[in-house]
Symmetry: C2
Subunit: 213 residues, 2 copies
């Protein structure tokens, strides 16, 4: 891919900036004015070059139809994941309902779409207290989960221990009629318990810790 001329770089930067500001692409004439180009044809000329080199994609005959590509792929948007509650030892986690779903987005965390993927029923929990430290999750961290009642061996899940009345974050392994709950932290010891005592409430997709507010 050849280097861009100063003018082409400026045009590209302007398009990026404009989309950032307006959420829709600029017209050719707006590019012309902003980049101090004397004619629309020059803009068109350079846009064609940018398109040939794969920096943008244009739809012909359509106004403002410029997409900025980065690395050949379109820039994606963040997806909001609802934080439906918190997880702590001794407290049940709230069950995601249709109500909390689309409606109350007041508390949510935005994540990159690649984390969520194609999964549906994704939600987040805020971790309260340090009781999940053996899962390498600290107070204040946020875990992203996919709603699930079953899990494959080795999956990290939110398990509700009925007898102990306690939610915990562990890797799950079925061993006969018993279940091994293995902390993510290898230096910690696993818990063995009865299969009937464990209720899977969700599979962990990712966890996020923000060190600085």
């Amino acid at each position: 891919m050849k280097d861009l001329s100063v003018k082409q770089q400026r045009i590209l930067d302007y398009i990026r900036e404009f989309i950032d500001d307006h959420d829709y692409p600029p017209s050719i004439r707006q590019i012309q004015q902003a980049c101090e180009i004397s004619s629309t044809s020059v803009v068109d000329y350079n846009l064609r070059i940018l398109e040939r080199q794969g920096h943008i994609k244009r739809d012909r005959e359509v106004s403002r139809a410029i997409e900025v590509l980065q690395g050949g792929r379109r820039a994606q948007r963040v997806v909001p994941v609802p934080i439906i509650g918190s997880i702590a030892a001794g407290e049940p986690i709230p069950v995601p309902s249709a109500d909390t779903w689309s409606a109350d987005m007041s508390d949510s965390i935005e994540v990159a779409p690649e984390i969520v993927g194609d999964r549906e029923n994704v939600f987040a929990l805020r971790v309260k207290g340090t009781s999940m430290i053996d899962a390498l999750v600290n107070d204040g961290d946020i875990v992203i989960l996919e709603q699930a009642t079953a899990a494959r061996d080795g999956d990290m899940v939110v398990a509700w221990l009925k007898n102990e009345q306690e939610a915990t974050l562990k890797k799950i392994f079925r061993e006969g009629d018993r279940v091994r709950l293995q902390p993510a932290n290898e230096t910690m010891q696993p818990i063995y318990t009865d299969a009937g005592n464990v209720e899977v409430q969700g599979r962990v997709i990712a966890s996020i810790r923000r060190q600085i507010a």
Copy 2:
């Protein structure tokens, strides 16, 4: 805020879908066709209602100038953070250079803009091995950093220990001419070392663990 009519909801959904597909908003006539509306004036009529209710924002006299708002705010795009290398005990972390900066985005992670904030010189490191487990960071995790040579007490930093020839992730506290490096995991013990032995290489902004690929 009043409820939306079926037609209005359909229009809104279509706009969202269209932007997802094309990265630029649809024209009024495209909305008309897709939502099986008989006239442009009806689309206009409903768009005005949507705008009055705060679901979208329109710029007058400009084609395709529809922004979809969610929660009153514009949907933001992810920002790519370059993964410039990995961090492991006994290996120096690579110094971010202008080269690795804008140029080689081949390896990067996309994060929500709220994580990066206004900070510049943000980069990411992949964690190798379990040596950072006392910072609640496991093998394969990714830490997001801001380039910094100084740090305030209590900041989580990447510290390079000169004598030990080792990079580590700890909270830093200056205590006279000594430095206390405190693990994030409260059950672990701090390290005390000479101030001259410590070189701050970056402040940790966040860390991300992807449980499922």
